[in-house]
């Protein structure tokens, strides 16, 4: 029995050793550049943002590699770890990622709560973490100097929506629904209220719920019985985005629904259906409104690679995150995480698909334009681009 087990162990060990020896030989002469991708790929509403982000990121890496790589022909190699819509899984994934030998940077996540679960582990390992879609402007202060944002902060998008609602749509009294279980949504509500009341608008009703809630009937009835409301600001993540629109519209409420980039998911169209998904306005990352070279090039490349148009702005954000990291590695001329992190912090003007990324004066959140999308006729229609004043 003993012999049998040790024999098996020897075979297994031999197998392990041989793979360990074969790999460097197969990877030609130039060492790859290791980048980790942490996304919620299979679970929850967030996967409708994260999966396109990851596709965008892979696409950019492929394009860089096909063009001959960086740092004199070295190829980017992505190690992807599914974070399974679970913050504990995310922390474990970050632990596994920072243990990868020669890891240069981590990229990932579309939600601040999840970015906060992963980034501190990168911070303590001294490896930069670039989030493609998490938008809390406080993230760099909360995590430290290894945390970088590719998107604008929530303050920017909420202010943009407040200004658009007040000035363009002429709305004065809003009801606000907030998901109390997310950092993203509570922050969004705070920034929206701040700017909207500053402009002279009023919050007529504030209601709260949790991400796992599916029954909004009680909130809908309360909204229906509140008089003098011009619009609803739904501070929601993708999990509840479609359900909220469906339940509000089904009750016969036709008020405009306003939201942040958590609404940039196909669920907003498909769950309520074409007839009910209308008069919904949300802010998202400006690539829809940008018709310049990189954006067109991105659209065509995405279509060719995945046989579909980019699902939402998060695809473009993943693409930009990878591009930004590659740009920083090139500028640093090294794959040392510290040098890359320094180069990232010194980004002056990286021309991305979602606008120009610059980190002025030690701020690691870029100031980018905000696109306003109007849902109607079974489509997401680009309305305008706003750069908030306040």
């Amino acid at each position: 029995m003993r012999n049998w087990i040790s024999g098996l162990a020897a075979v297994a060990a031999a197998g392990l050793l041989s793979t360990a020896f074969i790999l460097p030989g197969a990877a030609q002469d130039k060492e790859p550049i290791n980048v980790a991708a942490l996304y919620n790929l299979t679970s929850g509403g967030l996967s409708s943002l994260d999966a396109p982000s990851f596709n965008g990121m892979k696409l950019k890496a492929k394009m860089i590699n096909d063009a001959g790589g960086i740092l004199g022909g070295r190829k980017i190699e992505i190690t992807a770890i599914d974070t399974k819509n679970d913050t504990r899984e995310t922390a474990t994934a970050a632990q596994r990622a920072v243990a990868i030998k020669g890891l240069v940077a981590g990229i990932g996540q579309s939600d601040s709560t999840f970015a906060l679960a992963a980034a501190p582990l990168f911070q303590s390992a001294g490896i930069p973490f670039v989030t493609s879609g998490a938008t809390s402007p406080d993230l760099p202060d909360m995590v430290g100097d290894q945390m970088f944002l590719v998107p604008f902060g929530d303050d920017v998008q909420a202010h943009a929506m407040a200004e658009y609602a007040y000035n363009t749509l002429g709305l004065r009294n809003v009801a606000i629904w907030t998901d109390n279980a997310m950092d993203y949504t509570t922050g969004l509500t705070r920034y929206f209220t701040e700017r909207f009341t500053q402009l002279g608008g009023k919050v007529a009703l504030e209601d709260v719920y949790m991400t796992t809630d599916q029954d909004f009937s009680a909130l809908v009835s309360r909204l229906q019985s509140t008089t003098g409301v011009d619009a609803v600001f739904a501070s929601s993540g993708p999990d509840t985005a479609g359900i909220i629109v469906k339940q509000i519209r089904e009750a016969g409420i036709t008020l405009p629904i306003l939201a942040g980039d958590g609404f940039d998911t196909d669920l907003v169209l498909s769950v309520p259906g074409e007839a009910l998904a209308k008069d919904v306005y949300f802010t998202t990352h400006a690539y829809a409104g940008i018709e310049t070279g990189p954006a067109q090039e991105f659209r065509a490349a995405y279509q060719a690679e995945y046989n579909t148009a980019p699902e939402n702005a998060f695809a473009a954000l993943g693409y930009d995150a990878m591009g930004l990291v590659a740009d920083a590695i090139t500028r640093a001329g090294s794959t040392e995480p510290a040098a890359v992190s320094k180069a990232l912090a010194e980004t002056k003007a990286y021309e991305g698909v979602t606008g120009t990324v610059a980190f002025p004066e030690g701020k690691r959140v870029p100031n980018k334009p905000v696109a306003i999308i109007k849902v109607g006729g079974g489509k997401m229609n680009f309305e305008t681009t706003v750069t908030p004043k306040g």
Binding site: E206, S221, V271
Partner: protein, 298 residues
């Protein structure tokens, strides 16, 4: 607050309660017969939602036929789970069955995540189900009325079956006393399997209703409603079918009125409220609203 507002919240509560009631019946029936708290019950609810998605959206069956398919799918999964996980443990201590049910829940969830991923899916229903019907000072959707009616019809059919048929009598006998029922020539295994089949079929129909009402389903959707239905079963008195129905409606109403009548700051605490209610009921009325005090069975 106006009368119409209160009325609309009551209707909201009744619709939610009807779905809790259907899930709670299964909890109660299975507990009544085998003294097993089946925590995989919420996942059978999710199976029902996906069976409904398959039969309505993919196979394009008419709605009444889809209900039938969902009932059958639920019963089938219930039978399978009973045969594979619980029958081999017959006679083992209660806690073994409880842990086995947790294992079944995890296996079902992970199987679903592996095969169809945990991404939320859109559940589209025929347009006539979404139409608004004016009802006095408020208006109600057809699907809401259908949920309440379907729940009441299924409950009435079940109560009739248990009370007035020979098989129903045999089931009651089995629930009352295992050993004596067997001595009377009742096939215990068949009765237990039947309880699983019926309970699971009803949970599956609740899954169909949930999908039809909220329009979005996912393989992990059963967890919270499953736990709440368990609370409903405890409130009504575990082991009693009419208790489960009553508990379901009471819980649905209480939950919605908690959100609807208190200031909106409290809306986020609805789940906390439900589980606080569970603790309170266990402290004050351990046998539930209409449960009988049950002697521990040898």
């Amino acid at each position: 607050m106006t009368g119409a507002y209160l009325l609309s919240q009551i209707v909201n509560g009744l619709v939610l309660g009807a779905m809790y009631a259907l899930i709670a019946i299964g909890f109660s029936m299975i507990y009544g017969i085998v003294r097993l708290i089946n925590f995989a019950h919420g996942d059978i609810f999710a199976v029902g939602a996906f069976a409904a998605l398959g039969s309505i959206a993919i196979a394009a069956l008419p709605f009444p036929l889809a209900v039938l398919v969902v009932l059958l799918a639920g019963a089938l999964v219930g039978l399978l789970v009973e045969r594979a996980a619980f029958r081999p443990m017959r006679g083992a201590p209660q806690v073994t069955g409880f842990i086995a049910s947790l294992a079944v829940a995890i296996i079902l969830e992970n199987l679903a995540v592996m095969t169809i991923t945990a991404q939320p899916r859109t559940f589209a229903i025929p347009a006539w189900l979404g139409a608004l019907v004016p009802l006095g000072s408020i208006s109600v959707r057809v699907v809401d009325i259908a949920i309440i009616v379907l729940a009441l019809v299924l409950t009435a059919a079940l109560v009739g079956f248990v009370r007035f048929t020979r098989t129903g009598m045999a089931m009651r006998a089995t629930a009352e006393n295992y050993g004596v029922a067997r001595l009377m020539g009742i096939n215990i295994d068949r009765m237990i399997a039947l309880a699983f089949a019926i309970g699971s079929a009803l949970a599956a129909v609740a899954g169909l209703m949930w999908g039809a009402k909220y329009g979005q389903i996912s393989p992990l959707m059963g967890t919270v409603p499953g736990l709440k239905a368990f609370v409903a079963a405890v409130i009504g008195g575990v082991g009693s079918i009419s208790g489960a129905v009553l508990g379901g409606f009471v819980l649905g109403l209480a939950e919605v009125l908690f959100v609807g009548l208190l200031p909106s700051e409290f809306s986020a605490f609805r789940n906390a409220f439900v589980f606080a209610a569970l603790i309170l009921v266990l402290l004050v009325m351990p046998n539930g609203l209409i449960g009988k005090s049950t002697e521990t069975r040898a």
